[in-house]
Symmetry: C2
Subunit: 522 residues, 2 copies
């Protein structure tokens, strides 16, 4: 005999029994019964964010580290909208999120009160799965369904949005989800025909390339991918949308398909067969006049070996078996110390300095953009670590993703390579780092401009004039990142040289809690 | 014979010829041809924002002051999404915005590159009018259509979203809009039958109330409304969604329908006839268990005299004529000085202090929320000024709306009554205030909590426990608002007493440029 409970209580209990034990939250009035239930029923750690795009970005970072979803708590359509940009990145990362959005009581919607919005359209456009719960009786099962849809395992997640009307929350007759209802769907085996096509392509004598997504780049997958490449001669590339990339000594040292379209075209020009595993076909990020949308050759054939719902590891195993490729532990190169450069801060000197100091098992969140060009040549020689890339192109992911990653990975150091213009979108996440005492080191890559857009402007065929530069520069006033961090509870310092950067990083990595270094590029 | 031009050039020229001379901007790669055209063709003042919700809020504030639309410039679906919350408020304010969102080239969308999103759904859910432009040939006419739809006059605007695909922007064959195509649609006269109904209601002997929206509360409308009220005995109330409310000596001193549902029910309980002019029927902001959605009596009849597309002034004139009510200039009460209270900062003392210092013709942006309760009793005695309220309940409107209002109202002082929790959503707008040197005084009403939610929690029937308070408090760490403002280029100071508040305000009002006072409530 079940105890009578509200919808909100059934929801909390169903989340807990489904394994969702963290909730990143920015609640409002319509969520108060749910907040009260979280208060009464222990088992979920609630972590507030000052703005919703920090909340959704945190949930993305959390999944990338643990491979299981956190919940969010957002308030009505406008609150959801504030979090859509980082939900977009989470979807591109194939991160699982149980995205709970409170809304008006169902009976109230038709009165179009001020905060009423087209939440079905907003949630539909930003989610892989959506349910607007209709009764306290069903909310438990709805939550289990959402958890199941959000999925498990990096590269296998979805954004599952559960809209929680206030009257469903306060309604009596709440029922918990039945045991097991929240289990993620098992992965499908990769399609046998596509495995055959890939094996045929690798045997064809035609030049082949293998592009790997998140689920094909795990520590467990990398030896298989390396063995296949060794056995077939087909080089490996990382997708441009990898959510988590294990790198450093003893991991695959492979470059992503480049972001600049001309470099991407050049990188893929040799190949008439393209096998993708756990990622989409490489495309140009943007289309440019006179350039193609696909960065593979027009005559290249494409074999999608395994997608999000399929077992990439099994796909790699099948390929390896077909080619008698024996996976072996990846060789661990000897430690070759990084230099200790001095002088003005350049992209090369910055990367050399940072790579020399990345601790073992660190998480590196990469929103470096234009100032990150020194890393690809060096990332293979660092201590073993995980790189979390911004996958969907919605800038402002870095600090929130780092915050959520640090919540999930207690004890691991998180280092964020954070372009300054992008940092300005979600600076509020620093406050959550301070509140939770997270070991996050944020390096602001500060060039006081939207440098990536200055470069894009140049492709239009002219130098930016005063009107354009007014929209592309971040001086007048320059943001005082150390002061800003301090105002949100995060200590920090500014550095103007590589030597002081090294000292500041060493100091920061030796202390607990968040820290920010404003790295002033030359 | 027209000179050959790109779509972007035709768009810029069509905006200028349509009277759109300000563009609040946060551009990205797909907008670079448009940015280049803005560079080449003088006539549009471009004002950058660090995050899109500041951009859309600025456009809302601009329209509320000038009664004509500015353009925005946003980047793809995620950039649009970041600005939706303040577009929501703008729609509830019936503010006109020409919301230009760049997107991928039309030919590129099908490749689903990383930044591709369901922009039609996102824009459709956040706009009154939407067009995804399809060719350089048509973009000029599309822009004129958008300007026409955005409308003119406070209370008569719309959010008109024009999606600008990159290839439409760079495409040749751009044509400017024909002259006059951007003119707003003329307002319709109010429906004669509804005027008759209103006249009948006012003559019925039944207790009537008249609820006024933005377009019925202008300086020109207020004497008419007062005359009708005097002639009929029907009291006046302001809608809870008024975008601009002229207040102070010589203006109507009327209260809005209260936000708390019990107070709203009590305020409207006497009336069996409700006439709305330029606003919707009053509703409860949220539904609560056991309470109604409408805050008027269940047996009240409703007459909607004039809506957004109708001439509210003509409606008032018709009502006045039918009742032989002669509008006269509103009486200007003698100046009664405000007290100069000392001691700890309370809601009453704060309002007394601020009201005594509001300069003539100031713009007061009101996102005071729980700490603003001292103003209704005093706002009738201040110098004449305009109050801009947050209309749609999406918090975080205050600082951006103030910024846009200051851009539009050069020379007028803008004072923002800004709750601290709400300020945290769009703190980035302070940077634009610094960059543009705007005369904005931001008063942070600092109680270090989401106090409105603590109150809402209490309605659930319990005191918040530790888990709830962790989501509702803003201490640990408290935000250092003075440091935060300084980091974004805005000077300021913190005050702990009413006396120092008064001195700080006097100092701030005597200097040019933005300033922030962190008002620490007791």
């Amino acid at each position: 005999m079940e105890k009578a409970q509200s919808g909100a209580e059934a929801l909390v209990r169903s989340l807990i029994s489904g394994g969702v034990t963290t909730c990143f939250a920015n609640p409002g009035t319509s969520e108060m019964h749910f907040v009260a239930a979280l208060d009464r029923i222990p088992g979920i750690r609630c972590i507030p964010g000052l703005q919703e795009n920090t909340v959704t970005g945190m949930a993305d970072g959390y999944f990338r580290v643990l491979g299981r979803p956190a919940a969010t708590l957002l308030h009505c359509g406008p609150g959801l909208a504030n979090g859509i940009a980082n939900l977009h990145n989470a979807r591109r990362a194939e991160s699982g999120v149980v995205n709970i959005t409170g809304d008006h009581a169902l009976a109230h919607v038709k009165y179009d009160s001020p905060l009423t919005s087209d939440i079905a359209a907003l949630a539909g456009a930003s989610s892989d799965w959506l349910r607007i719960s209709s009764s306290a009786d069903e909310i438990g099962a709805d939550a289990a369904h959402a958890i199941s849809q959000a999925g498990a395992g990096v590269g296998h997640g979805r954004v599952a949005t559960l809209v929680l009307p206030a009257d469903v929350s306060w309604g009596e007759g709440g029922r918990e989800a039945p045991a097991g209802a929240a289990a993620p769907q098992p992965l499908n085996p990769p399609d046998a025909g596509r495995i055959d096509s890939a094996v045929t392509a690798l045997r064809s004598g035609e030049p082949c390339v293998i592009v790997l997504g998140t689920a094909a780049l795990t520590v467990a997958s990398q030896p298989l991918a390396a063995a296949i490449s060794d056995a077939t001669g087909a080089p490996l590339k990382a997708s441009g949308m990898v959510a988590v990339q294990p790198r450093g000594r003893g991991r695959l040292d492979i470059a992503p398909v480049p972001y600049p379209v001309d470099l991407a075209l050049a990188a893929l020009e040799p190949f008439t067969r393209v096998i993708t595993i756990g990622c989409p076909m490489p495309t140009a990020f943007f289309l440019y006049p006179g350039k193609p949308s696909l960065v593979t050759r027009p005559d290249a054939s494409h074999i999608a070996l395994a997608g999000r719902d399929e077992d990439c590891q099994a796909g790699l195993e099948a390929l390896a078996a077909a080619r008698d490729a024996e996976p072996a532990p990846l060789p661990v190169p000897p430690v070759t110390p990084f230099a200790q450069p001095e002088g003005a801060i350049t992209a090369e000197g910055f990367a050399e300095t940072v790579c020399g100091l990345i601790p073992e098992n660190a998480i590196v969140v990469n929103e470096a953009l234009t100032l990150g060009t020194g890393f690809p040549a060096r990332a293979g020689r660092t201590a073993p670590c995980d790189w979390l890339h911004i996958t969907g192109g919605a800038i402002g992911g870095g600090i929130p993703v780092a915050t959520g990653a640090a919540v999930a990975a207690r004890g691991c150091r998180v280092i964020t390579l954070q372009a300054d213009g992008s940092a300005a979108y979600t600076m509020q996440a620093l406050w959550t780092q301070a509140r939770e005492g997270l070991d996050c080191l944020t390096l602001i890559l500060n060039n006081r401009s939207y440098a990536i857009l200055v470069g894009e402007y140049a492709k239009v065929g002219a130098e930016p004039g005063p009107t354009a530069m007014n929209m592309l520069s971040l001086d007048r006033p320059g943001i005082d990142w150390v002061g800003l961090a301090a105002s949100l509870g995060v200590a920090g310092e500014a550095v103007m040289t590589l030597g002081t950067l090294r000292g500041a990083m060493q100091g920061a990595l030796g202390r607990k809690g968040p820290y920010l270094i404003d790295v002033r590029f030359a």
